[in-house]
């Protein structure tokens, strides 16, 4: 792995195993004595290299395998096959060095403690990531100013609106200055203003700190605004890897077509 690569995945594969059960009581009883074991390949021999400092958008329809890919990249899931190195580490080993250098923002799952203020959550992360006090104070000041949440961080998280909470989520996620940020649908459910603020912030983060960002989003305007590179995943396979212009050409859409139209053309006829 070259030292300027943040991610290097070769033939990365994830197979889920599950038991299938026929409907009704008969099916339940049958399943008890003779379960039907099935396997589903969620990610199928994906090969991907991401240089440090790049912003990549992983796009694909629901169930395409993009979230499973992200979960393997951040160490949540153990790959079934292939090789994976992220920041020089095997993510599933979950070493302190690896976990200290990444951060994950789940649009649909809060990392903040619900019943206390954002600042209390930040204090926990200060201990967790062993951040020295002066660095902590400086980071909190910078992030809260940039995300315009200085007036919100002492309010219990449960009292915040979704847009306010997402901005606070980002303060928490970036407090330790990660080299690599996984943002899984970070703008889901946000209004236009909140979405734009979040998008601008991520762009600034990449520009000013060189943070590598892996983004999944169903909001194509997020991807168009942020990502220098787009990887299309479908049925667990990367079907396209390039920039927006190349994607437009591949889809056969006109040069002014928006990303929604381009992707609709790419995934047309998907079963």
């Amino acid at each position: 792995m070259r030292s300027d690569d943040a991610i290097r995945a070769t033939q990365l594969t994830k197979v889920y195993k599950y038991s299938e059960q026929a409907p009704g009581l008969k099916g339940a009883v049958k399943g008890l004595f003779k379960p039907v074991r099935r396997e589903r390949t969620a990610v199928d021999a994906v090969t991907l290299t991401l240089p440090k400092g790049q912003v990549i958008g992983l796009l694909g329809p629901n169930g395409a395998g993009k979230t499973t890919t992200i979960k393997m990249l951040c160490g949540l899931l153990r790959p079934t096959g292939g090789e994976l190195e992220v920041l020089g580490h095997q993510p599933h080993k979950r070493s302190f060095d690896f976990l200290s250098r990444i951060s994950v923002v789940f649009g649909q799952k809060s990392m903040l403690w619900w019943d206390v203020s954002t600042y209390d959550s930040l204090l926990i992360h200060r201990e967790m990531y062993a951040i020295p006090r002066p660095v902590f104070d400086a980071s909190v000041a910078e992030l809260t100013e940039r995300l315009d949440v200085a007036h919100l961080i002492n309010i219990p998280v449960r009292k915040l609106s979704l847009g306010q909470r997402m901005r606070c989520e980002l303060v928490l996620a970036l407090l330790h200055g990660p080299d690599l940020l996984f943002a899984d649908e970070p703008t889901v459910g946000l209004d236009v203003v909140a979405k734009l603020a979040l998008r601008n912030f991520l762009a600034e983060l990449n520009r000013d700190h060189g943070t590598t960002i892996v983004l999944t989003s169903h909001d194509m305007s997020d991807v168009a605004a942020l990502c220098q590179r787009i990887a299309l995943i479908d049925h667990g396979v990367i079907g396209f890897d390039g920039n927006l212009q190349e994607l437009r050409q591949r889809s056969g859409q006109h040069a002014d077509a928006d990303l929604d139209q381009v992707l609709a053309a790419m995934f047309r006829g998907r079963s």
């Binding site: 979960k71 949540l76 302190f96 649909q108 799952k109 206390v116």
Partner: protein
């Protein structure tokens, strides 16, 4: 290690703050915990007055039943259900991407709960002790208390490990509630949390002395009240290794199969 301890401290303080919102509920929970041994005390005192001859002295029985609710509370754990839910619904994801032990938050939650409950259970236990003060004998030798404390802490660690072990079964099972319930019922009966094990028929005593649940509640009290043998410490250490080792094994094996449901 120091970082984890500092983190445990700050998480525990956080949990105490959050639990303070539920102090009324916690107090009622403690009153409910004191009621079964209080009823058992009344029944046994009634039986002794009517001529019954239990295999232990009235002072032992009284001291045991006055203190058992405190020991049972300190050595209890409510982690299995929360852990199982976080595995099944993907709540574990938020912990697995952080550089700290996943179980630290559960440990903090349990420690905070104990700190709060100790303050809340004290008044009803003191009342119970005052009512039965003529038969209550608390040991005066500091050595007994010095032996009691590690036995109590190991018992609490064993229950926590047991909870991690059972909660981790959710990596493979849809619902662990039935297993958890069965464990709870067995523990209620066989730990001495409801009735002192010494009151069971003599024929069961060899089995009761060796089984793991005894070391979760009864054993620390036996140490305090001076009815243990040297070999019993070895039994507790053995079961501690089995439970902690089992929890570590099941957890590590489960993580390999984790599917991280949801985002």
């Amino acid at each position: 290690m120091t970082r984890q301890l500092r983190l445990l401290r700050i998480l525990t303080v956080q949990e105490v703050r959050m639990m303070m919102n539920h102090r009324g509920w916690l107090f009622l929970l403690q009153v409910a915990n004191v009621l079964p041994p209080a009823i058992a005390l009344l029944v046994w005192h009634g039986a002794v007055d009517q001529g019954a001859d239990p295999p232990v002295s009235t002072t032992y029985l009284t001291s045991y039943l006055v203190l058992v609710s405190v020991v049972a509370m300190v050595t209890s754990s409510w982690t299995s259900g929360f852990l199982a839910a976080s595995i099944r619904l993907g709540g574990l994801n938020s912990w697995l991407v952080r550089p700290c032990s996943t179980h630290l938050s559960y440990l903090a939650n349990n420690s905070a709960e104990k700190l709060l409950k100790l303050g809340l259970i004290a008044p009803p236990v003191v009342v119970l002790g005052l009512v039965f003060r003529h038969d209550l004998r608390l040991p005066g030798e500091p050595q007994r208390w010095l032996h009691f404390l590690p036995a109590l802490i190991i018992a609490a660690a064993m229950t926590f490990a047991f909870d991690i072990l059972i909660g981790s079964l959710a990596f493979w099972m849809e619902d662990i509630a039935a297993i958890d319930r069965l464990r709870y019922l067995l523990a209620r009966l066989l730990s001495g949390g409801l009735v002192p094990l010494a009151l069971f028929p003599a024929v069961f005593q060899p089995f009761l002395a060796a089984q793991p649940f005894r070391f979760l509640v009864s054993f620390p009290l036996e140490v305090l009240l001076g009815t243990t043998h040297a070999i019993d410490y070895a039994y507790q250490a053995g079961w501690f290794v089995v439970l902690v080792g089992g929890a570590v094994l099941v957890w590590r094996r489960g993580l390999r199969d984790y599917q991280g449901a949801g985002a």
